[in-house]
């Protein structure tokens, strides 16, 4: 895109360089700006904290590999909380790429807390066509997922004892980078009344607020910032918290760039008019 215009080449690349600096420097020097926990994230934390031990939580990895830097810290924080509270965690994915990510995350965090596969957590695997899969789980989980991710019969695992459908599930955490968390609201919350916890990319944050106000979702954890807040609540510094300083400087850079760009525009316009 730069080859056709020599002058563009410079400005554009200078801005790219500024962006890289704005992100790299805070990551190296770590000023450690104070972090505020929002009510939306606190609500999720309180809800999970209030669940009785052994409650079943479904965590659905409804994202693609493209948003991993946002989704992984989020899933890690929520999983740590669930395992710390001794909840039973059932993993699944409604997008194919979330499948491998989900399996790896569950095993890694499960091992951190010495949890047994099949006893304390399980990974059911992937199902296509979100709305249909969500509805099917509302009727009979063992019919929807006859086998786990690697093909072993699901009914053989102790965690599945007494787990039939959403009636036995305390909450569904949807770690999503698109509109699948909305599908969970539309099809699982509305129809079956199950509690939905959206852990989503920042891109989708504003679209979830109407459901927050109408209490169709428990709370809202959005983006790397949401993950950082959760890490703070768990008293554990992770990738998200360490990224927050860079997030701040990069935002300031963007705002400054918009301001300069507009000032230049108004100057030029003013010049033309006079």
């Amino acid at each position: 895109m730069a080859e056709a215009n020599g002058k563009r080449f410079h400005t554009r690349h200078l801005i790219f360089l500024l962006m890289a600096i704005a992100v790299v420097l805070p990551l190296i020097f770590k000023p450690g700006l104070p972090l505020r926990v929002t009510k939306e994230v606190q609500d999720i934390y309180d809800y999970i904290e209030g669940l009785p031990e052994e409650s079943v939580v479904i965590i659905s990895f409804d994202h693609e590999a493209s948003s991993l830097p946002e989704m992984v810290p989020m899933a890690e924080a929520l999983l740590r909380h669930c395992f710390r509270k001794n909840l039973k965690v059932c993993g699944m994915a409604l997008l194919a790429e979330g499948t491998s990510v989900g399996d790896a995350n569950l095993r890694r965090i499960g091992a951190e807390y010495n949890k047994e596969y099949g006893e304390d957590y399980i990974f059911w695997g992937f199902r296509p066509q979100h709305e249909v899969a969500i509805l099917a789980l509302g009727e009979d989980i063992t019919r929807e997922f006859k086998t786990d991710y690697t093909g072993r019969p699901i009914s053989g695992f102790p965690i599945m004892q007494g787990l039939r459908n959403y009636q036995n599930v305390a909450a569904v955490i949807s770690v999503g980078d698109g509109d699948i968390p909305i599908y969970w609201v539309n099809y699982a919350q509305a129809r079956y009344g199950v509690n939905i916890i959206p852990a989503i990319t920042a891109v989708m944050a504003t679209t979830m607020y109407p459901f927050l106000q109408s209490e169709q979702i428990v709370g809202l954890a959005a983006g790397l910032k949401g993950a950082a807040e959760y890490e703070k609540l768990l008293n554990r510094t992770g990738l998200a918290t360490r990224g927050m300083d860079a997030q701040s400087t990069a935002h300031v850079l963007i705002i400054v760039l918009i301001a300069i760009g507009n000032i230049i525009m108004f100057r030029q316009r003013g010049g033309k008019r006079s």
Binding site: M1, T206, G243
Partner: protein, 198 residues
């Protein structure tokens, strides 16, 4: 700095070469990605859906009813051919019909009834009043059978400004998301790969 991480890092840098300009290194990396992701998708779809939901019930458990979805699935694959692609309209119609049938009550419940209820707020504080005015004025903006003039026009105008606030906050959050992705990749390059930051 193990070999796997180094490979991942080299591929990451290959993608970043696009920032200079579109070039063969980027193009190669992009096509590797395309091939691998399509292959990944095919394997997961077969191993996680077609095998457990169709092959095992039909061929291992011998439940003959599954012959119907099997035939419909094969009919779907005929879409790839020129000659028989019209047959694929039957399974397609089933999926679309099912989708439409379940969407109606879902939208009615979650997006209309529940959202209407949540807007029926007592007019006791500024925020509640703003919420009601904003919802109504946006509805007026998307009203097409009447010209936007007079009081109606003023309401529609208010609607567009509320929409702008919504688009603005979406803009802010989207910028945030894109930067988070960059932070994640830099953490990978400088941390996991080079070990400069921890």
């Amino acid at each position: 700095m193990d070999i796997s991480t180094t490979i991942a890092a080299i591929l990451t840098l290959a993608i970043y070469s696009f920032l200079y300009r579109d070039n063969p290194v980027y193009k190669t990396a992009e096509h590797i990605l395309l091939g691998v992701s399509v292959g990944y998708f095919v394997v997961i779809t077969i191993s996680n859906t077609i095998i457990p939901k169709l092959i095992i019930p039909l061929f291992v458990d011998g439940e003959l009813i599954y012959i119907i979805p099997a035939l419909l699935g094969i009919a779907m694959l005929l879409r790839v051919t020129k000659q028989f692609s019209h047959i694929s309209r039957i399974p397609l119609a089933l999926i679309i019909g099912v989708g439409a049938g379940i969407a109606i009550p879902a939208y009615m419940q979650a997006h209309l009834i529940a959202q209407m209820k949540a807007t029926m707020l007592p007019l006791s504080n500024i925020s509640n009043i703003v919420i009601i005015i904003a919802v109504l004025s946006v509805l007026v903006y998307f009203f097409f059978s009447r010209k936007h003039e007079g009081a109606f026009g003023v309401t529609a105008k208010a609607g567009i400004y509320f929409l702008m606030i919504f688009f603005g906050s979406t803009f802010g959050y989207t910028v945030m998301a894109r930067i988070s992705l960059l932070i994640g990749r830099i953490q990978f390059l400088l941390g996991d790969w080079l070990g400069i930051i921890r």
